[in-house]
Symmetry: C3
Subunit: 210 residues, 3 copies
């Protein structure tokens, strides 16, 4: 049985006391109802900095106070994906970022959709959006650069600098980041999990592809 299905009274009380506030404050937060993060901690570490102090106020999911999400309105994302929920993450979505379901972005990562023009720093270069598929994990201190496409079921090793597209079902590492081996199919399934809120139909359709 998944840890997300073990429910005890502490978890229930946590959801009762703080879950409604988290759900209200973060309309794009889709996580297992029980057993992921405590709702009390989301209030303490995210809600206070975002909704009271105003750091990343407009981002509709929890962002850590040491991270920045620029242009969150240009980010389209699935469930189980909260870019910026770890420390020291910089998400710059000036040219748009499209993230699938179940994308993990580790501490210290930078996802940068628009470079400063190298000959005119005050302007951003335009480029296609960054597109990241389903079931992707990007390990610590990595950087993803403008226009990069990362497929489904991909693992990016720590300290990588992703400058070119990474195909589906692969493990890639290095600076510059290159595929080093194929990846087994993704094994986790989410149909049985009870979520913190109803999953919209357009996101639910991906469940079968897990």
């Amino acid at each position: 049985m998944s840890k997300y299905q073990k429910v005890n009274w502490k978890k229930k009380l946590d959801f009762l006391l703080f879950g409604w506030l988290v759900n209200w404050a973060y309309p794009e937060y889709y996580r297992p109802k029980y057993g992921y993060k405590s709702y009390r901690k989301i209030i303490l570490y995210n809600f206070i900095s975002q909704k009271i102090l105003g750091i990343n106020r407009k981002t509709p999911w929890p962002v850590h106070f040491t991270s920045i999400v620029r242009s969150p309105e240009k980010i389209q994302k699935g469930i189980l994906c909260d870019p910026g929920d770890n420390i020291g993450v910089y998400i710059q979505a000036v040219n748009g970022i499209i993230l699938g379901n179940n994308v993990g972005i580790s501490p210290g990562c930078k996802i940068i959709s628009a470079n400063h023009n190298v000959c005119q720093h005050s302007k951003h270069d335009t480029s296609p959006p960054i597109i990241i598929g389903n079931n992707v994990f990007i390990f610590a201190n990595s950087v993803v650069l403008p226009g990069v496409k990362i497929g489904d079921n991909v693992t990016i090793g720590a300290g990588s600098v992703v400058v070119k597209d990474i195909p589906s079902n692969s493990i890639a590492v290095g600076n510059p980041c290159r595929v080093i081996k194929a990846k087994e199919p993704y094994a986790e399934r989410f149909e049985a999990i009870e979520f913190n809120r109803k999953i919209p139909e357009n996101l639910r359709k991906y469940f079968s592809s897990y």
Copy 2:
């Protein structure tokens, strides 16, 4: 027309209400008067942490509360250059750092002028200062090591570790950082911009070199 020349009443009000406080608190802050950062946000995100909470209190330009500037009195810098204004930046100037005009330092970068001695951690090695020229941009998560000289009009790619000098007019990337191609001349000119304060003569002389 540059975005720095588009002035509306909101920007004027912002300068009227908060600009004087920013200018008073940060005597080495030289940026376009309108259209760069809102002065209100500099108060919220920089002034409160620096001048009230005392994090990087002595640094005479805005520093983000997640960044640290050590020995700011040993930093000599031009206009359009506020090392530490991004998240997770560590500027250690024990051996001195000389920065030109218009130097951008991205989130997660570390500029380290003095290593801890490898056989005696409690001592810093002495070395010449780090010298960085005009119109330089250092992209995310890069590290610049002691004694390095970076010329004018240089771009350092994300995730680079700069261990050797980088000549002017070049684009350099990698760990260790190497020149990968020549760079076009820098295109932006600043003569027409109205600044937040008078630019001292010794900094103004560089304007023609842009």
Copy 3:
């Protein structure tokens, strides 16, 4: 004479006023009594965030508010070693981390003892603990991955990704991190230093190996 032996009335007053609180709050903080960090600053930058705001509350040594130490109860460490005392450091000890005496971990480093399983993100892979010896310095923005052993008297260069064991008495750099040269014996000795508290016998025995 070491800087830790220069004592003046300011340092004595600082210890009198704040030293007892630091020693009480941080039972695993072992540093020179005078001349390392001011106790007042530890209260300002560490105690308030840890003991009042509750960020890294359970970690029994000072941790910066921009850093995270996960599972601190699984960290075993020596003296002169406070992982997370710099900015943007992420220490994840799910599989255990064993650190020797005098280990420096620079800003932006990540020490990760358990990866998320690449095919099942919600599970951590098990692996042996990370083991780091005495007199080790890990420079900025480096990452140490699960199960890695680093010997005694080792320097890891900035921006390294340590994926394999690093033997004693070596300097190693790069992504992936490789030994580039042998290191001189460590030169500093600590027998003469007065510490902030009594050093337990099991840690004191290492003194002679410095």
